[in-house]
């Protein structure tokens, strides 16, 4: 590195040691004990119960003895890594060192405390900084090679504001796999951990963030203020330690390790294209495992139904439909935690009670509504805003189960818009949708045929479809299921359409990237106020970003760098036709893709 930058070696060494100081963890058991004590108090206040799969812990215990372990928890809340360390401490496992975002470090005192309980800090973005990258990856690898503590980091990179799994990042994954690629370790065990909350601490915070209220900076005073949450009930929490995934078996036949033979191993090497593909694929697989192991609560089902019925449902039909949905979800392989000895209505009423701040129950009618909003007269905009907070909060619960319904739902929508029973037409539609939404959901790249077949199989199993040689036919009893599945995806379809419409109608020539989100938000808000749009989820900045990313990927929109700003150049014809296809106006998309 020193020769490249032209600085003296000493300079570089000094800088490197500064970086190390900034980054390094200092694991101290006393701090851990202190944390363990306070956390156990806090956790007892917050949660009714914390459920851990004991056999997962045992598997972990074994894995730790065999090879270095990397823990990959899902990231929904700040609680995640506190809980992880706490659990490992309680189960007498080696405490992990955790890659945490730099912003924690700036918290006075707490930053140091976290550091002493095993966190090390990384800058959020250091794409260009070679020295930082070198020091950082060497630091992580050294910890891994010496193998005294498991490493923990979040594949998703950041907390998911929507409770959907985020597209995984591969940088850190590459770093922890490299010692295996280079033969420095026989194997590395990756343990996906799924952490799910019955109620998320940050739920309304996230919703507000999605609506454009900036994320509060992590600070000690903020944490103190957050004490208020201690007095509330957040239901139970589930931590599921998945089966360890061996990097060796993942990479078998995919990575030719001798590619690392010709360069001394301490010299950092950029991953080659095939390595990159492998990393990406592995990351998706791991996130999928996280999703599948995510424990789902009854409320998730209820939230799904309530979102589809904005005008509310009466309690009895809610009960009936939840029960129906429960069976459907189970048939699709959902990991549902449904209390054993309670009747359906009891389960539902207790779920409703836990989430009472999101809904109103009047005369047997359950409805999503604003409960704790100020009663003073508000502007229509504010009313929409409050309503949206509720809807988005609720959506974050529905999102937890999306991965179960996703593939069948894509198929259902494809069937609806294909206007034909021919298998390849439907597949084309399916593929188009899948492609469109691959920034939104976890859809492993290249698995499209597999996903299609899985969807067909699941729906066939439930008696919804008959899959023939050339055709796919809906069976008599399948209508309600298909309708349900279509409406699961409906908010996303509508949301994407809104973004497309905005880009077609509103844009001026020099729309910058930064202006995009607020502009779409305004546009959407106006549509809602005008009564032309009922879908509040379209306001979510997450959805808008994903839609833009998809359009960029499909090359309907281009980024052009002008000076400091990045402007978006829109191919209106292309965007327009995409919008039409999403709306189901044009049955097959083949000619459209050709036009792109």
């Amino acid at each position: 590195v020193s020769s490249e930058s032209g600085d003296s070696a000493e300079c570089v060494a000094e800088e490197a040691s500064l970086i190390l100081d900034e980054m390094a963890h200092r694991l101290q058991l006393s701090t851990v004990r202190f944390f363990a004590f306070t956390l156990s108090k806090a956790f007892k206040r917050l949660f009714r119960s914390v459920c851990v799969n004991e056999e997962g812990i045992q598997r972990l215990q074994q894995a730790v003895q065999e090879h270095p372990v990397v823990l990959l928890p899902s990231h929904r809340s700040y609680m995640d890594f506190l809980m992880m360390s706490y659990l490992l401490y309680m189960y007498d496992l080696p405490l992990p060192v955790i890659a945490a975002g730099m912003d924690f470090m700036s918290m006075k005192f707490i930053g140091e405390m976290l550091r002493m309980s095993g966190a090390f800090f990384i800058r959020r973005s250091f794409g260009g900084d070679k020295l930082y990258w070198a020091v950082f990856s060497e630091y992580v690898k050294t910890m891994l090679r010496n193998g005294y503590a498991p490493i923990e980091f979040f594949l998703e990179g950041t907390r998911s504001r929507t409770c959907k799994s985020l597209t995984p990042k591969t940088g850190l994954l590459n770093i922890v796999m490299e010692p295996f690629f280079k033969g420095e370790l026989f194997d590395v065990n990756l343990v996906p951990v799924s952490i799910s909350y019955e109620r998320i601490l940050e739920e309304s915070l996230y919703a507000r963030e999605l609506l454009g209220v900036p994320k509060p900076k992590e600070s000690t005073s903020g944490l103190l203020k957050a004490r208020r949450v201690l007095s509330e009930d957040y239901g139970s929490m589930h931590v599921y330690f998945g089966h360890p995934v061996s990097v060796r078996s993942l990479a078998e036949g995919k990575i030719n390790r001798s590619q690392y033979n010709l360069l001394p191993r301490h010299i950092p090497q950029k991953p080659r294209i095939d390595t990159h593909e492998f990393l990406n694929e592995a990351a998706f697989r791991l996130v999928r495992i996280q999703e599948e192991n995510m424990v789902l609560k009854p409320w998730v089902l209820i939230a799904t139904l309530l979102l589809q019925n904005p005008d509310g449902l009466d309690l009895s039909s809610l009960t009936e439909q939840t029960d129906w949905l429960r069976h459907l979800a189970l048939a699709f392989g959902a990991f549902l935690d449904w209390p054993d000895h309670e009747t359906c209505s009891e389960v539902i009423s207790s779920s409703l009670a836990l989430h009472r701040h999101l809904l109103s129950v009047s005369a047997g009618n359950v409805q999503l509504s604003v409960t704790d909003a100020p009663q003073v007269e508000t502007t229509p905009e504010e009313a929409v805003f409050h309503r949206a907070v509720i809807v988005l909060s609720c959506a974050s619960y529905r999102n937890q189960i999306l991965h179960v319904f996703l593939r069948p739902a894509l198929l259902a929508v494809a069937m609806q818009s294909a206007n034909s029973n021919r298998k390849d037409d439907i597949y084309n539609c399916f593929n188009f949708l899948r492609n469109m939404f691959s920034n939104e959901f976890i859809l492993c790249p290249g698995d499209s045929v597999q996903d299609f077949e899985e969807a067909c199989y699941l729906l066939m199993k439930c008696g919804v479809l008959q899959v023939l040689e050339q055709e796919i036919v809906m069976s008599a009893s399948g209508h309600s299921t298909l309708t349900f599945l279509c409406s699961v995806l409906d908010p996303f379809l509508q949301g994407y359409q809104v973004v497309c419409r905005y880009l077609c109608e509103e844009t001026n020539e020099n729309l910058t990237e930064r202006e995009f989100i607020p502009a779409v938000r305004n546009f959407t808000l106006n549509l809602i106020l005008a009564g032309r749009l009922k879908c509040y989820e379209a306001l979510s900045s997450d959805l808008q970003k994903n839609a833009l990313a998809a359009l960029l990927r499909l090359k309907a929109v281009r980024k052009v760098k002008v000076g400091d700003q990045v402007t978006l150049k829109v191919n209106k014809i292309a965007v327009n036709s995409l919008e039409d296809t999403l709306g189901g106006k044009i049955p097959t998309q083949k000619p459209i893709l050709a036009r792109l």
Binding site: G183, E184, F186, N256, R257, S258, N261, R265
Partner: protein, 627 residues
């Protein structure tokens, strides 16, 4: 001039003195080299007569390693013993070997897997003879045979699957006849006739190949003729001024060494197979000897090679020590594994016999420290003639071969040593490992050199552990092949393989390959934990040679050889993935052919192929090795 001639005179004097010292049969007065080498046959009643007869089966096993009279067996008391008179270990009881076999493999006396005692001649397919070729050969007065025993003997090397099949009495494709040329011109005639009559020639030297190099290709339809070089075994001349010797290539290692010793010289080339392997074989496989740190590998030793190819004879025009005349043609010959022709005569460097030889050993607390020490020794370029680092399993293996001690005092001393190392120095007996050393040279230098090496070792926590341990370490490599036959009598199969690897990867490679072996065995249903052990056996400036032993108890497996091959295959993949080479000195043969392209790039392979196409367009040398 004066000083020059006086030094020459002195040299001559020394050689003559060497002659006098080394009267045959007078063992006790001979130099240390002889005294302490377990591997050298004790007595050779008729050193003038060739020790390798045409009918090798008369003195050697047809389905196992080495001499018929030397083998491990369990005697009536159930104790392991080594028979015969040839080796230092011969006739001795090895009390701890049985326990070691049981402890390591779970191989007990109750479960025996004996070999077919005699060769079933009816299992040998009748020879596919090329009559005109035979007639011409007879006219040229070349000795030949199509006796089934002779043919079977030359159909195999010593790969596990080859020996295993023989023990089961299974005979595959064997050569259709054997010819014994006695000199270079005989070979020229044979090759010429082979071209004329289109028969396939497979050169055969010592038959110690472990790369399936001697297997007859199944797809070969022509008559296959095994060209046994053993009768070309003379030293043609010795040049005292240039310290070179011109030798026929069929001579086997121990004869060459013995005959040179008689004249006060040695080659210093001592591969573990030197009792049986031939000079031509060394050249054809790029062999390496354990004392290469002083004498060099075969490519450093060879000055001139004569090889008969279908195109004619290839050789250089002078004996200059180095030339810049384009790519060195020797390097097309060395490592050609019998695909281009027959090496008939070799001029090689010789050295005066070293005045003093001393074994030694160092115990390290763990393998990592040991490797670090070897690396430092290599960095300072002060490696003794041989330095090897055995891992813990191999160290224990070595201990299992300790003969019964004669006196209480020795056993007490051993106990004391053990106590000192494990208790006083705190070495964990399950981690410690040992480096064995062999120093050569004049006495003063050896002692000085020894001190230097021990000083370095001390920096890495090494403790000197005596000559005896060192010597036993070297003995192990000579008897291990005999031991495999014992193992095979009791359901244990195994083999060795080797690689070379840069220094920084040595530890990682050793660990990963050993672990891969253990894991693959488990996955393939091997019921007992395997023996998976390694040693760093040669040091170079930029890396080291690593040697693995792998063996397991195959009781309960239906196709043990297949399992063995799968595991070895996986182990080789692991070696390549960890930056190791395809082979350091065993060669490629047919066993490792599939990785050649990956190893030398497709252009490299194409180069070799085009050489083969030019030299041997008819594929007369059709053993199908390497390419």
């Amino acid at each position: 001039m004066a000083s020059n001639s006086s030094s020459t005179a002195q040299q001559r004097l020394r050689i003559i003195a060497g002659h006098l010292q080394k009267r045959p049969g007078d063992e006790n007065t001979s130099v240390a080299a002889h005294e302490c080498k377990a591997e050298t046959p004790r007595s050779n009643p008729s050193s003038s007569v060739t020790p390798v007869p045409k009918r090798r089966q008369e003195i050697m096993k047809w389905n196992g390693w080495g001499y018929s009279d030397s083998r491990f067996l369990y005697n009536k008391k159930g104790q392991a013993e080594f028979t015969g008179k040839r080796y230092r270990l011969s006739g001795l009881i090895l009390p701890s070997l049985k326990d070691w076999m049981e402890g390591t493999f779970g191989a007990t006396l109750q479960h025996k897997s004996p070999a077919t005692p005699t060769l079933n001649l009816s299992a040998v397919a009748p020879p596919n003879l090329n009559e005109p070729f035979i007639e011409d050969l007879k006219a040229a007065a070349v000795a030949l045979s199509h006796d089934p025993e002779d043919r079977v003997f030359r159909a195999h090397g010593h790969c596990l699957h080859e020996i295993f099949a023989l023990r089961e009495g299974k005979i595959g494709r064997v050569p259709d006849m054997v010819v014994w040329p006695t000199c270079h011109s005989d070979v020229e005639k044979i090759v010429e006739l082979a071209c004329k009559h289109n028969v396939c020639l497979i050169p055969y030297g010592g038959g110690t190949s472990v790369s399936s190099a001697l297997e007859c290709p199944h797809e070969e339809t022509r008559s296959i003729v095994s060209l046994d070089t053993s009768q070309m075994n003379r030293i043609l001349w010795i040049d005292d001024k240039n310290l070179t010797a011109h030798v026929e290539a069929g001579i086997i290692g121990q004869d060459l060494e013995r005959q040179l010793n008689d004249r006060g010289y040695c080659t210093g080339h001592e591969p573990d197979s030197m009792e049986f392997s031939s000079l031509g074989g060394w050249v054809a496989t790029r062999a390496s000897g354990m004392k290469k740190n002083v004498y060099g590998n075969i490519e450093d030793l060879v000055v001139h090679i004569k090889m008969v190819t279908p195109r004619g004879v290839i050789e250089k025009s002078c004996l200059g020590p180095r030339m810049s005349t384009g790519p060195d043609i020797h390097h097309f010959i060395m490592g050609s594994e019998g695909t281009l022709g027959v090496v008939t005569e070799v001029t090689m460097k010789i050295r005066p016999i070293p005045e003093y030889q001393k074994y030694g050993s160092v115990v390290f607390p763990n393998f990592q420290q040991g490797v670090a020490c070897l690396r430092e020794v290599a960095r300072q370029r002060c490696a003794p003639a041989s330095i090897r680092l055995m891992d813990n399993e191999q160290f224990q293996f070595g201990h299992a071969l300790k003969p019964q001690v004669s006196s209480i005092f020795t056993s007490f001393l051993d106990g004391l040593k053990k106590f000192y190392i494990t208790k006083f120095k705190g070495f964990d007996p399950h981690h410690l490992c040992v480096a064995t050393l062999l120093f050569e040279g004049d006495r003063g230098r050896v002692l000085q050199h020894e001190k230097q090496v021990y000083d370095i070792a001390a920096k890495f926590g090494g403790l000197a552990a005596g000559e005896d341990n060192g010597q036993r370490g070297y003995m192990l490599t000579f008897v291990i092949a005999y031991l495999r036959d014992l193992g095979m009598d009791y359901y244990v199969i195994g083999e060795s393989f080797e690689t070379s690897v840069p220094w920084d990867r040595v530890l990682d490679l050793c660990r990963n390959v050993k672990e891969r072996i253990v894991r693959e065995c488990k996955e393939r249903g091997v019921q007992f934990p395997p023996l998976s052990t390694c040693r760093v056996t040669q040091t170079y400036d930029a890396g080291a040679c690593v040697y693995f032993y792998f063996a397991f108890n195959y009781r309960g497996l239906s196709d043990p050889v297949h399992v063995y091959e799968q595991v070895e295959h996986a182990a080789r993949e692991e070696i390549l993935a960890n930056g190791g080479s395809l082979s350091h000195h065993h060669g490629v043969g047919k066993l490792r052919k599939e990785w050649m392209k990956e190893s030398v790039s497709s252009v490299g392979l194409g180069m070799l192929k085009s050489v083969k196409e030019y030299v041997d367009p008819q594929n007369i040398f059709g053993n199908r090795n390497l390419l």
